[in-house]
């Protein structure tokens, strides 16, 4: 695959922890790959698995869903539902052909600026290795 492949990563970050964590990364001047495009949501429990599928269909090569650490959810239990949903969705998408390595679910607290950078760097590299995702999208080869 071309060396110049720059994965497009879509990140769904919960406002209270992971988005604040990403903010921390920025304010601390810690570099992280600009491959990620961040969508701020109130809670990881708000991230409908439908959005993840849509992201892949609309141009994402990889998706990050990040929330508060279990037990620390701003709303109490949103991320605990998310944890179950994504445990299922990740293996299910893999079953449909979207490699599990393309979807990462992480718990990042507001103070984990370093960690957020690390997660994004790891995911970007992993998706770069997996290559561009073009399946189940407009313009892909239909079955013959």
């Amino acid at each position: 695959m071309p060396d110049s492949f720059e994965p497009k990563i879509v990140g769904f970050l919960c406002n209270w922890c992971s988005y604040a964590g990403a903010d921390m990364t920025g304010t601390s001047r810690i570099p992280y790959p600009s491959n990620i495009r961040i969508v701020r949501v109130p809670c990881s429990g708000r991230v409908d698995p439908l959005y993840v599928l849509k992201a892949f269909q609309e141009g994402a090569d990889g998706v990050l869903v990040a929330g508060c650490h279990p037990g620390d959810c701003h709303y109490g239990d949103g991320n605990l539902y998310a944890r179950r949903r994504y445990a299922l969705m990740r293996s299910f998408l893999d079953f449909v052909g979207i490699d599990a390595g393309r979807l990462r679910v992480e718990w990042v607290s507001a103070s984990e600026g370093n960690r957020f950078a690390q997660v994004v760097a790891e995911l970007t590299e992993q998706v770069r290795q997996l290559g561009p995702w073009a399946g189940l999208r407009e313009g892909q080869q239909e079955a013959a």
């Binding site: 439908l50 599928l53 944890r83 445990a87 299922l88 990740r90 299910f92 449909v96 239909e142 079955a143």
Partner: protein, 293 residues
């Protein structure tokens, strides 16, 4: 054996209808071309129309949402009798659990089921459908009356063998498989309409505002519908295979639902429709659980 079940159904239906215990009995009849199809018998005198054999694969529970829903406008809904195999009763249990059907509005004529014949085998007195060969339930989880003698459970077949080939493939191979399968989908929604678990007033695939998916009949849109429908049945799918059987293009849709059911079982020890006292897995959580993410 089939004759015994058929007679049992007719006797029970005649009794229920003549005593006025139900407004109708939902079962099967033979259509003008010899194939079985669902039937709604309203009079005791028509009970003779009811038939039963190993081609009666329709999950009739799908009709109960209209028939036995808890009253919304103050009218008492008609009580319905229904012919139900073990898989059908699991689906019914899901609907009861979700408040879509009230248990006391349904008289379940449970069938001790010997399994359905494979489509190709019909008429040739041949083998059971693949999903029936795997099934270990012979008697429905609950019933108001049972017809038939429970046949023996055969030697255990690997519970998830239908998934093995795909699970053993690479993601790329799996993608190619699903593209081939979704290619001939005509977006007729027969799978969704035949599914007892799909009762949304407006399906995400048809919603206008927001429009989650375009109306195009192309693989990306069809894949979106099938993936999201299967996901919305996570922990709810009774694995009755009504979707496979309804599909005019014979797409093996149940593979999607069964993959999720397998993960639900492995991660949460939960089987849809088995025990209504257990909260559905996606409607709950355990604080300290470790899940593969």
């Amino acid at each position: 054996m089939n004759h015994e079940i058929q007679d049992g159904i007719r006797i029970r239906a005649r009794e229920l209808l003549s005593l006025g215990e139900v407004g109708c009995v939902i079962g099967h009849e033979r259509g003008p071309r010899g194939r079985v199809r669902p039937v709604f018998v309203h009079d005791a005198g028509d009970a003779g129309r009811l038939v039963w054999d190993q081609t009666c694969h329709h999950n009739l529970v799908v009709y109960l949402r209209d028939r036995a829903a808890p009253s919304r406008r103050g009218d008492a809904p008609l009580r319905a009798g229904i012919v139900a195999r073990p898989c059908d009763v699991r689906a019914l249990n899901v609907l009861i659990h979700e408040g879509q059907v009230a248990r006391d509005q349904v008289f379940v004529i449970g069938v001790a089921c010997p399994g359905m014949l494979a489509e190709e085998a019909e008429g040739a007195g041949g083998s059971l459908a693949e999903h029936c060969r795997r099934c270990k339930e012979r008697v429905p989880l609950f019933y108001d009356a049972l017809v038939g003698e429970p046949p023996p459970v055969d030697a255990v077949v690997d519970a998830w063998e239908d998934l093995a080939e795909l699970e053993g493939s690479t993601p790329g191979e799996r993608l190619a498989f699903w593209i081939r399968e979704f290619d001939r989908c005509i977006r007729c929604y027969a799978c969704r309409q035949a599914c007892p678990g799909c009762y949304c007033f407006e399906c995400l695939a048809e919603q206008v505002d927001p429009q989650w998916v375009s109306i195009a009949h192309r693989v990306p849109q069809k894949a979106f519908f099938h993936v999201m429908r299967a996901y919305h049945l996570a922990g709810r799918c009774a694995e009755c295979h009504a979707c496979d059987l309804a599909c005019p293009m014979h797409i093996p849709l149940s593979l999607l639902n069964r993959k999720i059911a397998k993960e639900v079982k492995a991660l949460f020890g939960y089987t849809a429709g088995a025990d209504p006292t257990i909260p559905p897995p996606l409607a709950t959580f355990r604080k300290d659980e470790e899940l593969p993410l």
